[in-house]
Protein backbone atom coordinates (compact mmCIF):
# COMPACT_ATOMS: atom_id res chain seq x y z
CA UNK A 1 0.00 0.00 0.00
CA UNK A 2 1.31 3.30 -1.10
CA UNK A 3 1.64 6.11 1.41
CA UNK A 4 -0.30 9.12 0.04
CA UNK A 5 0.07 11.49 2.96
CA UNK A 6 2.62 11.68 5.71
CA UNK A 7 2.62 14.33 8.43
CA UNK A 8 6.15 15.85 8.97
CA UNK A 9 5.71 15.57 12.70
CA UNK A 10 5.74 11.82 12.26
CA UNK A 11 9.27 11.81 10.65
CA UNK A 12 12.09 11.63 13.09
CA UNK A 13 15.20 13.80 12.72
CA UNK A 14 17.70 12.42 10.17
CA UNK A 15 15.18 9.69 9.27
CA UNK A 16 15.45 10.73 5.57
CA UNK A 17 18.90 11.12 3.99
CA UNK A 18 19.50 13.45 0.99
CA UNK A 19 20.15 10.57 -1.36
CA UNK A 20 16.51 9.58 -0.85
CA UNK A 21 15.28 12.99 -2.14
CA UNK A 22 14.55 13.83 -5.78
CA UNK A 23 17.50 15.25 -7.84
CA UNK A 24 15.77 18.62 -8.52
CA UNK A 25 15.49 19.34 -4.84
CA UNK A 26 19.16 18.64 -4.34
CA UNK A 27 20.22 20.89 -7.20
CA UNK A 28 18.23 23.86 -5.91
CA UNK A 29 19.54 23.37 -2.38
CA UNK A 30 23.13 23.40 -3.56
CA UNK A 31 22.62 26.62 -5.60
CA UNK A 32 21.01 28.49 -2.71
CA UNK A 33 23.88 27.59 -0.45
CA UNK A 34 26.33 29.31 -2.99
CA UNK A 35 24.27 32.67 -3.27
CA UNK A 36 24.52 33.75 0.32
CA UNK A 37 28.29 33.63 0.56
CA UNK A 38 29.22 37.13 -0.93
CA UNK A 39 32.27 38.92 0.49
CA UNK A 40 32.73 42.78 0.63
CA UNK A 41 36.38 43.75 0.84
CA UNK A 42 37.43 46.95 2.66
CA UNK A 43 33.92 47.63 3.78
CA UNK A 44 33.45 50.65 6.02
CA UNK A 45 30.83 53.28 6.83
CA UNK A 46 29.74 55.46 3.86
CA UNK A 47 31.94 53.67 1.35
CA UNK A 48 30.37 53.14 -2.04
CA UNK A 49 30.41 49.42 -2.96
CA UNK A 50 31.69 48.47 -6.40
CA UNK A 51 32.28 45.23 -8.22
CA UNK A 52 35.64 43.52 -7.91
CA UNK A 53 35.78 41.30 -11.00
CA UNK A 54 35.77 38.21 -8.78
CA UNK A 55 32.66 36.09 -8.20
CA UNK A 56 30.89 36.69 -4.89
CA UNK A 57 33.31 39.52 -3.99
CA UNK A 58 32.61 43.32 -3.80
CA UNK A 59 34.87 46.23 -2.92
CA UNK A 60 34.26 49.02 -0.42
CA UNK A 61 35.79 52.15 -2.07
CA UNK A 62 37.82 54.13 0.44
CA UNK A 63 37.98 57.17 -1.90
CA UNK A 64 34.36 57.26 -2.95
CA UNK A 65 32.04 57.90 -0.06
CA UNK A 66 28.52 59.14 0.45
CA UNK A 67 27.37 60.30 3.84
CA UNK A 68 23.76 60.90 2.93
CA UNK A 69 24.25 64.51 1.77
CA UNK A 70 27.53 64.53 -0.11
CA UNK A 71 29.23 62.23 -2.56
CA UNK A 72 32.95 62.62 -2.13
CA UNK A 73 35.78 61.55 -4.41
CA UNK A 74 38.84 61.40 -2.17
CA UNK A 75 41.57 60.66 -4.66
CA UNK A 76 41.44 60.81 -8.44
CA UNK A 77 38.74 62.63 -10.33
CA UNK A 78 35.15 62.59 -11.43
CA UNK A 79 34.79 62.01 -15.15
CA UNK A 80 31.76 62.57 -17.37
CA UNK A 81 32.42 61.22 -20.83
CA UNK A 82 30.04 61.73 -23.71
CA UNK A 83 29.35 59.10 -26.27
CA UNK A 84 31.11 59.30 -29.63
CA UNK A 85 29.96 62.63 -31.13
CA UNK A 86 27.99 63.48 -27.99
CA UNK A 87 28.40 66.23 -25.42
CA UNK A 88 29.63 65.66 -21.88
CA UNK A 89 27.50 67.50 -19.35
CA UNK A 90 27.14 67.98 -15.66
CA UNK A 91 24.00 69.61 -14.33
CA UNK A 92 23.45 71.47 -11.11
CA UNK A 93 19.89 72.14 -10.09
CA UNK A 94 18.92 74.15 -7.06
CA UNK A 95 15.55 74.30 -5.34
CA UNK A 96 14.53 70.84 -6.60
CA UNK A 97 14.21 72.24 -10.10
CA UNK A 98 10.63 73.37 -9.68
CA UNK A 99 10.89 76.76 -11.34
CA UNK A 100 13.02 76.08 -14.38
CA UNK A 101 15.37 79.01 -13.85
CA UNK A 102 17.66 77.29 -11.42
CA UNK A 103 19.32 74.85 -13.78
CA UNK A 104 23.00 75.27 -14.51
CA UNK A 105 24.98 73.09 -16.83
CA UNK A 106 28.67 72.51 -17.37
CA UNK A 107 29.28 71.23 -20.82
CA UNK A 108 32.11 70.06 -23.04
CA UNK A 109 30.49 70.45 -26.43
CA UNK A 110 31.33 67.87 -29.03
CA UNK A 111 30.62 70.01 -32.10
CA UNK A 112 33.13 72.79 -31.39
CA UNK A 113 35.06 71.56 -28.33
CA UNK A 114 34.02 74.64 -26.36
CA UNK A 115 33.55 74.54 -22.60
CA UNK A 116 30.26 76.18 -21.70
CA UNK A 117 28.55 77.27 -18.53
CA UNK A 118 24.88 77.58 -19.38
CA UNK A 119 21.64 78.31 -17.59
CA UNK A 120 18.19 77.22 -18.54
CA UNK A 121 15.81 80.04 -19.37
CA UNK A 122 12.63 80.32 -21.40
CA UNK A 123 12.80 76.75 -22.52
CA UNK A 124 16.36 76.70 -23.76
CA UNK A 125 19.91 76.48 -22.52
CA UNK A 126 21.80 79.76 -22.87
CA UNK A 127 25.57 79.90 -22.58
CA UNK A 128 26.67 82.47 -19.99
CA UNK A 129 30.39 81.76 -20.15
CA UNK A 130 32.11 79.98 -22.96
CA UNK A 131 35.77 79.05 -23.08
CA UNK A 132 36.48 78.60 -26.74
CA UNK A 133 38.75 75.86 -28.00
CA UNK A 134 41.18 78.53 -29.24
CA UNK A 135 41.47 79.99 -25.74
CA UNK A 136 39.09 82.94 -26.09
CA UNK A 137 36.75 83.49 -23.19
CA UNK A 138 33.30 84.84 -23.98
CA UNK A 139 31.04 86.15 -21.26
CA UNK A 140 27.50 86.48 -22.52
CA UNK A 141 26.52 85.61 -26.03
CA UNK A 142 29.06 87.33 -28.24
CA UNK A 143 27.88 87.94 -31.78
CA UNK A 144 30.29 87.08 -34.54
CA UNK A 145 31.79 84.01 -32.91
CA UNK A 146 35.54 83.82 -32.59
CA UNK A 147 38.23 86.45 -33.16
CA UNK A 148 36.99 88.79 -30.45
CA UNK A 149 40.19 88.87 -28.45
CA UNK A 150 41.32 86.88 -25.44
CA UNK A 151 38.22 87.87 -23.52
CA UNK A 152 34.97 89.20 -24.95
CA UNK A 153 32.32 90.44 -22.57
CA UNK A 154 28.83 91.41 -23.58
CA UNK A 155 27.38 94.42 -21.76
CA UNK A 156 24.44 94.05 -19.44
CA UNK A 157 22.30 97.05 -18.52
CA UNK A 158 22.65 97.97 -14.88
CA UNK A 159 19.75 99.27 -12.83
CA UNK A 160 20.22 102.74 -14.30
CA UNK A 161 20.19 101.41 -17.84
CA UNK A 162 23.91 101.87 -18.44
CA UNK A 163 25.46 99.13 -20.57
CA UNK A 164 28.31 97.83 -18.46
CA UNK A 165 30.68 95.04 -19.47
CA UNK A 166 33.19 95.27 -16.66
CA UNK A 167 32.90 96.92 -13.28
CA UNK A 168 36.09 97.61 -11.37
CA UNK A 169 35.76 98.11 -7.66
CA UNK A 170 38.43 99.18 -5.21
CA UNK A 171 39.22 97.13 -2.13
CA UNK A 172 36.82 98.74 0.35
CA UNK A 173 33.92 98.65 -2.11
CA UNK A 174 33.30 102.39 -1.77
CA UNK A 175 34.54 103.38 -5.24
CA UNK A 176 34.15 101.80 -8.63
CA UNK A 177 34.14 102.33 -12.36
CA UNK A 178 32.08 100.62 -15.02
CA UNK A 179 33.17 100.21 -18.62
CA UNK A 180 30.92 99.25 -21.48
CA UNK A 181 29.91 99.81 -25.08
CA UNK A 182 26.54 101.40 -25.80
CA UNK A 183 24.23 100.95 -28.76
CA UNK A 184 25.98 103.79 -30.62
CA UNK A 185 29.23 101.86 -30.51
CA UNK A 186 30.79 104.27 -28.01
CA UNK A 187 33.09 102.92 -25.32
CA UNK A 188 31.86 104.57 -22.12
CA UNK A 189 33.36 104.93 -18.68
CA UNK A 190 30.82 105.27 -15.87
CA UNK A 191 31.92 106.58 -12.49
CA UNK A 192 30.37 104.32 -9.85
CA UNK A 193 26.60 104.35 -10.30
CA UNK A 194 26.52 107.28 -12.70
CA UNK A 195 24.27 106.62 -15.67
CA UNK A 196 25.98 109.36 -17.67
CA UNK A 197 29.45 108.39 -18.83
CA UNK A 198 32.30 110.62 -17.75
CA UNK A 199 34.48 109.65 -20.70
CA UNK A 200 33.51 108.37 -24.12
CA UNK A 201 35.65 106.94 -26.88
CA UNK A 202 33.23 107.54 -29.71
CA UNK A 203 32.44 105.17 -32.51
CA UNK A 204 33.66 107.92 -34.87
CA UNK A 205 37.04 107.77 -33.06
CA UNK A 206 36.61 111.07 -31.23
CA UNK A 207 37.07 111.22 -27.49
CA UNK A 208 34.59 113.14 -25.34
CA UNK A 209 35.02 114.08 -21.71
CA UNK A 210 31.46 114.60 -20.57
CA UNK A 211 32.30 115.43 -16.99
CA UNK A 212 35.55 116.72 -15.55
CA UNK A 213 38.71 118.08 -17.14
CA UNK A 214 41.58 116.69 -19.11
CA UNK A 215 44.49 117.02 -16.72
CA UNK A 216 48.04 117.03 -18.01
CA UNK A 217 49.85 115.76 -14.94
CA UNK A 218 53.42 116.36 -16.02
CA UNK A 219 54.88 119.79 -16.60
CA UNK A 220 56.13 120.14 -20.14
CA UNK A 221 53.70 117.57 -21.53
CA UNK A 222 50.58 118.54 -23.44
CA UNK A 223 48.88 118.10 -26.78
CA UNK A 224 51.08 117.25 -29.74
CA UNK A 225 50.02 118.78 -33.05
CA UNK A 226 52.95 117.48 -35.03
CA UNK A 227 50.62 115.62 -37.41
CA UNK A 228 49.49 118.92 -38.88
CA UNK A 229 51.28 120.60 -41.75
CA UNK A 230 53.92 123.15 -40.83
CA UNK A 231 54.44 126.73 -41.90
CA UNK A 232 56.48 126.93 -45.04
CA UNK A 233 58.44 129.56 -46.88
CA UNK A 234 61.91 130.95 -47.05
CA UNK A 235 63.29 131.85 -43.67
CA UNK A 236 60.45 130.23 -41.73
CA UNK A 237 61.44 127.68 -39.16
CA UNK A 238 59.02 125.64 -37.09
CA UNK A 239 60.31 125.09 -33.54
CA UNK A 240 57.64 123.29 -31.63
CA UNK A 241 54.15 121.82 -32.04
CA UNK A 242 53.45 120.81 -28.47
CA UNK A 243 50.72 122.81 -26.75
CA UNK A 244 51.87 122.47 -23.19
CA UNK A 245 50.48 125.31 -21.12
CA UNK A 246 47.39 127.38 -20.47
CA UNK A 247 46.79 129.54 -17.44
CA UNK A 248 44.79 132.57 -16.45
CA UNK A 249 44.97 134.69 -13.34
CA UNK A 250 45.69 138.13 -11.97
CA UNK A 251 48.79 140.23 -11.42
CA UNK A 252 49.67 143.49 -9.71
CA UNK A 253 51.34 146.30 -11.67
CA UNK A 254 53.89 148.48 -9.90
CA UNK A 255 55.54 151.71 -11.01
CA UNK A 256 59.31 151.33 -11.01
CA UNK A 257 62.09 153.84 -10.63
CA UNK A 258 65.78 153.54 -11.29
CA UNK A 259 67.85 153.96 -8.17
CA UNK A 260 71.45 153.09 -7.38
CA UNK A 261 71.87 150.78 -10.31
CA UNK A 262 68.64 148.84 -10.07
CA UNK A 263 64.93 149.12 -10.69
CA UNK A 264 62.94 149.42 -7.49
CA UNK A 265 59.35 150.28 -6.67
CA UNK A 266 58.52 153.97 -6.83
CA UNK A 267 56.78 155.68 -3.93
CA UNK A 268 53.01 155.68 -4.27
CA UNK A 269 51.23 158.55 -2.63
CA UNK A 270 47.96 156.79 -3.42
CA UNK A 271 47.88 153.15 -4.43
CA UNK A 272 44.65 153.56 -6.36
CA UNK A 273 42.40 150.75 -7.50
CA UNK A 274 43.56 147.81 -9.53
CA UNK A 275 40.38 146.61 -11.12
CA UNK A 276 41.23 144.31 -13.94
CA UNK A 277 44.81 143.22 -14.14
CA UNK A 278 44.52 139.76 -15.56
CA UNK A 279 46.70 137.54 -17.67
CA UNK A 280 46.14 134.63 -19.99
CA UNK A 281 49.13 132.47 -20.87
CA UNK A 282 48.73 130.33 -23.97
CA UNK A 283 51.76 128.21 -24.62
CA UNK A 284 54.71 130.53 -24.10
CA UNK A 285 52.84 133.74 -24.94
CA UNK A 286 51.51 135.84 -22.08
CA UNK A 287 48.63 138.21 -22.79
CA UNK A 288 47.95 140.79 -20.11
CA UNK A 289 45.65 143.63 -19.31
CA UNK A 290 46.18 146.63 -17.05
CA UNK A 291 43.24 148.41 -15.45
CA UNK A 292 44.51 150.81 -12.81
CA UNK A 293 42.88 154.03 -11.66
CA UNK A 294 42.99 156.66 -8.96
CA UNK A 295 46.70 156.36 -8.22
CA UNK A 296 49.35 158.97 -7.55
CA UNK A 297 53.11 158.47 -7.69
CA UNK A 298 55.64 160.85 -6.23
CA UNK A 299 59.10 159.86 -7.45
CA UNK A 300 58.99 157.83 -10.65
CA UNK A 301 62.17 158.54 -12.55
CA UNK A 302 61.27 156.89 -15.84
CA UNK A 303 58.07 155.54 -17.29
CA UNK A 304 58.24 151.90 -16.32
CA UNK A 305 55.58 149.48 -15.09
CA UNK A 306 56.75 146.24 -13.53
CA UNK A 307 55.15 143.28 -11.86
CA UNK A 308 54.35 141.28 -14.98
CA UNK A 309 53.22 137.78 -14.06
CA UNK A 310 55.97 135.77 -15.77
CA UNK A 311 59.64 136.39 -16.38
CA UNK A 312 60.09 137.58 -19.92
CA UNK A 313 62.10 135.85 -22.59
CA UNK A 314 62.43 139.26 -24.19
CA UNK A 315 60.47 141.37 -26.64
CA UNK A 316 56.86 142.16 -26.42
CA UNK A 317 54.53 145.10 -26.57
CA UNK A 318 51.94 146.99 -24.64
CA UNK A 319 49.31 149.24 -26.18
CA UNK A 320 47.92 151.96 -23.97
CA UNK A 321 44.31 152.62 -24.79
CA UNK A 322 43.32 155.17 -22.16
CA UNK A 323 45.48 157.05 -19.66
CA UNK A 324 46.33 160.28 -17.90
CA UNK A 325 49.49 158.89 -16.39
CA UNK A 326 52.15 160.05 -18.85
CA UNK A 327 53.85 163.35 -19.44
CA UNK A 328 53.95 162.86 -23.19
CA UNK A 329 51.80 161.13 -25.76
CA UNK A 330 49.20 159.52 -23.57
CA UNK A 331 48.14 156.88 -26.03
CA UNK A 332 51.26 155.09 -27.08
CA UNK A 333 52.91 151.74 -26.99
CA UNK A 334 55.14 150.22 -24.40
CA UNK A 335 58.04 147.90 -24.91
CA UNK A 336 58.96 144.78 -23.01
CA UNK A 337 62.68 144.65 -23.28
CA UNK A 338 65.18 141.86 -23.37
CA UNK A 339 64.82 138.80 -21.23
CA UNK A 340 65.47 138.70 -17.54
CA UNK A 341 62.99 141.17 -16.15
CA UNK A 342 59.28 141.73 -16.09
CA UNK A 343 58.71 145.37 -16.89
CA UNK A 344 57.18 147.56 -19.58
CA UNK A 345 59.14 150.61 -20.67
CA UNK A 346 57.36 153.50 -22.32
CA UNK A 347 59.08 155.76 -24.82
CA UNK A 348 57.83 158.47 -27.11
CA UNK A 349 59.03 160.15 -30.24
CA UNK A 350 62.65 159.43 -31.07
CA UNK A 351 62.87 156.68 -28.49
CA UNK A 352 62.98 159.22 -25.72
CA UNK A 353 61.87 158.06 -22.30
CA UNK A 354 58.39 158.95 -21.34
CA UNK A 355 57.67 159.84 -17.71
CA UNK A 356 54.83 159.56 -15.22
CA UNK A 357 53.01 162.63 -14.02
CA UNK A 358 54.51 162.67 -10.55
CA UNK A 359 52.47 164.16 -7.75
CA UNK A 360 49.26 164.24 -9.75
CA UNK A 361 46.27 162.61 -8.16
CA UNK A 362 43.68 160.46 -9.85
CA UNK A 363 45.89 159.01 -12.57
CA UNK A 364 44.63 156.07 -14.55
CA UNK A 365 45.92 153.73 -17.21
CA UNK A 366 44.26 151.03 -19.26
CA UNK A 367 46.43 148.95 -21.52
CA UNK A 368 46.87 145.52 -23.09
CA UNK A 369 49.94 143.68 -24.17
CA UNK A 370 51.70 140.45 -24.76
CA UNK A 371 55.17 138.96 -24.50
CA UNK A 372 56.94 135.66 -24.57
CA UNK A 373 57.60 134.00 -21.21
CA UNK A 374 61.08 132.79 -20.37
Amino acid sequence: MAITQLKTGAIADDAVTTDKLANAINTERTANTAKVSTTINNNADNRVITGSGTANTLEGEANLTYNGTRLNVGTGDLAVTGAEGGDAQLRLTADEGDDGADYWRLESKASDNNFNLATYASGAWVDKISVRSDGEVHIGTIEGGDDRGAAAIKAVNDTGGSPISVYFQEASGAEGYGVGVDSDGDLNFHNSGSTTPTLEVKDDNNVAITSGNLIIGTSGKGIDFSATSDASGTGISMDNELFKDYEEGSWTPVIKKYSSGSWVNATMTTAGTISDCYYVKIGDIVHFHIGWSGFEVSDASYCVIGGLPFASAGRGQCVVTYTTAFNNHQNQGGHISSGGDQQIQFYHTGNAWNAFNNNTSGLYIYADGWYRAA
Binding site: S250, W251, G261, G340
Partner: protein
Protein backbone atom coordinates in the same frame (compact mmCIF):
# COMPACT_ATOMS: atom_id res chain seq x y z
CA UNK B 1 28.29 123.20 4.76
CA UNK B 2 31.31 125.29 5.61
CA UNK B 3 32.96 127.50 3.03
CA UNK B 4 36.68 128.00 3.52
CA UNK B 5 39.20 130.05 1.57
CA UNK B 6 42.86 129.21 1.71
CA UNK B 7 45.97 130.44 -0.03
CA UNK B 8 48.47 128.01 -1.42
CA UNK B 9 51.73 128.85 -3.14
CA UNK B 10 51.28 126.00 -5.56
CA UNK B 11 54.00 126.82 -8.07
CA UNK B 12 57.40 128.22 -7.26
CA UNK B 13 59.49 128.11 -10.40
CA UNK B 14 63.06 129.19 -11.02
CA UNK B 15 63.36 130.76 -14.44
CA UNK B 16 66.15 132.04 -16.61
CA UNK B 17 69.77 133.02 -16.35
CA UNK B 18 69.20 135.31 -13.37
CA UNK B 19 67.18 132.74 -11.43
CA UNK B 20 63.98 134.73 -11.31
CA UNK B 21 61.63 133.04 -8.86
CA UNK B 22 58.20 132.88 -10.43
CA UNK B 23 55.46 132.45 -7.84
CA UNK B 24 51.88 131.36 -8.33
CA UNK B 25 49.60 132.14 -5.45
CA UNK B 26 46.40 130.08 -5.57
CA UNK B 27 43.23 131.24 -3.87
CA UNK B 28 41.23 128.14 -3.12
CA UNK B 29 37.59 128.08 -2.07
CA UNK B 30 36.29 124.84 -0.62
CA UNK B 31 32.91 123.65 0.52
CA UNK B 32 33.12 120.85 3.05
CA UNK B 33 36.65 120.04 1.91
CA UNK B 34 35.60 119.81 -1.72
CA UNK B 35 37.34 122.37 -3.90
CA UNK B 36 34.93 124.71 -5.67
CA UNK B 37 37.25 127.24 -7.25
CA UNK B 38 40.94 127.92 -7.62
CA UNK B 39 42.13 131.26 -8.97
CA UNK B 40 45.69 132.38 -9.49
CA UNK B 41 47.74 135.46 -8.84
CA UNK B 42 51.26 135.72 -10.22
CA UNK B 43 54.38 137.64 -9.40
CA UNK B 44 58.08 137.32 -10.06
CA UNK B 45 60.93 137.91 -7.65
CA UNK B 46 64.38 138.92 -8.91
CA UNK B 47 67.64 138.41 -7.01
CA UNK B 48 67.58 141.92 -5.54
CA UNK B 49 64.06 141.54 -4.14
CA UNK B 50 63.29 141.85 -0.43
CA UNK B 51 61.89 138.42 0.41
CA UNK B 52 61.67 138.87 4.17
CA UNK B 53 57.88 138.99 4.00
CA UNK B 54 57.52 136.12 1.57
CA UNK B 55 56.11 132.79 2.81
CA UNK B 56 58.64 130.31 4.09
CA UNK B 57 58.58 128.05 1.06
CA UNK B 58 59.12 130.94 -1.35
CA UNK B 59 61.91 132.38 0.74
CA UNK B 60 63.58 128.98 0.93
CA UNK B 61 63.70 128.73 -2.85
CA UNK B 62 65.05 132.27 -3.19
CA UNK B 63 67.73 131.63 -0.61
CA UNK B 64 68.70 128.41 -2.33
CA UNK B 65 69.10 129.74 -5.85
CA UNK B 66 70.23 133.32 -5.31
CA UNK B 67 73.87 132.71 -4.69
CA UNK B 68 76.26 135.63 -4.43
CA UNK B 69 77.30 134.91 -7.97
CA UNK B 70 73.70 135.08 -9.21
CA UNK B 71 73.08 138.31 -7.32
CA UNK B 72 76.23 139.85 -8.76
CA UNK B 73 75.26 138.78 -12.23
CA UNK B 74 71.78 140.26 -11.82
CA UNK B 75 73.24 143.54 -10.54
CA UNK B 76 75.51 143.76 -13.53
CA UNK B 77 72.55 143.11 -15.80
CA UNK B 78 70.49 145.81 -14.12
CA UNK B 79 73.30 148.30 -14.43
CA UNK B 80 73.60 147.48 -18.09
CA UNK B 81 69.97 148.52 -18.44
CA UNK B 82 70.60 151.91 -16.98
CA UNK B 83 68.13 154.29 -18.58
CA UNK B 84 70.59 157.16 -18.61
Amino acid sequence: MALTETIEYDKIEVVGQYKAVQVRKAHIVKKDDKELTRSFERYVLNPDADVSKEPTEVKAVCDAVWTDEVKKSWKTFQESKSPA
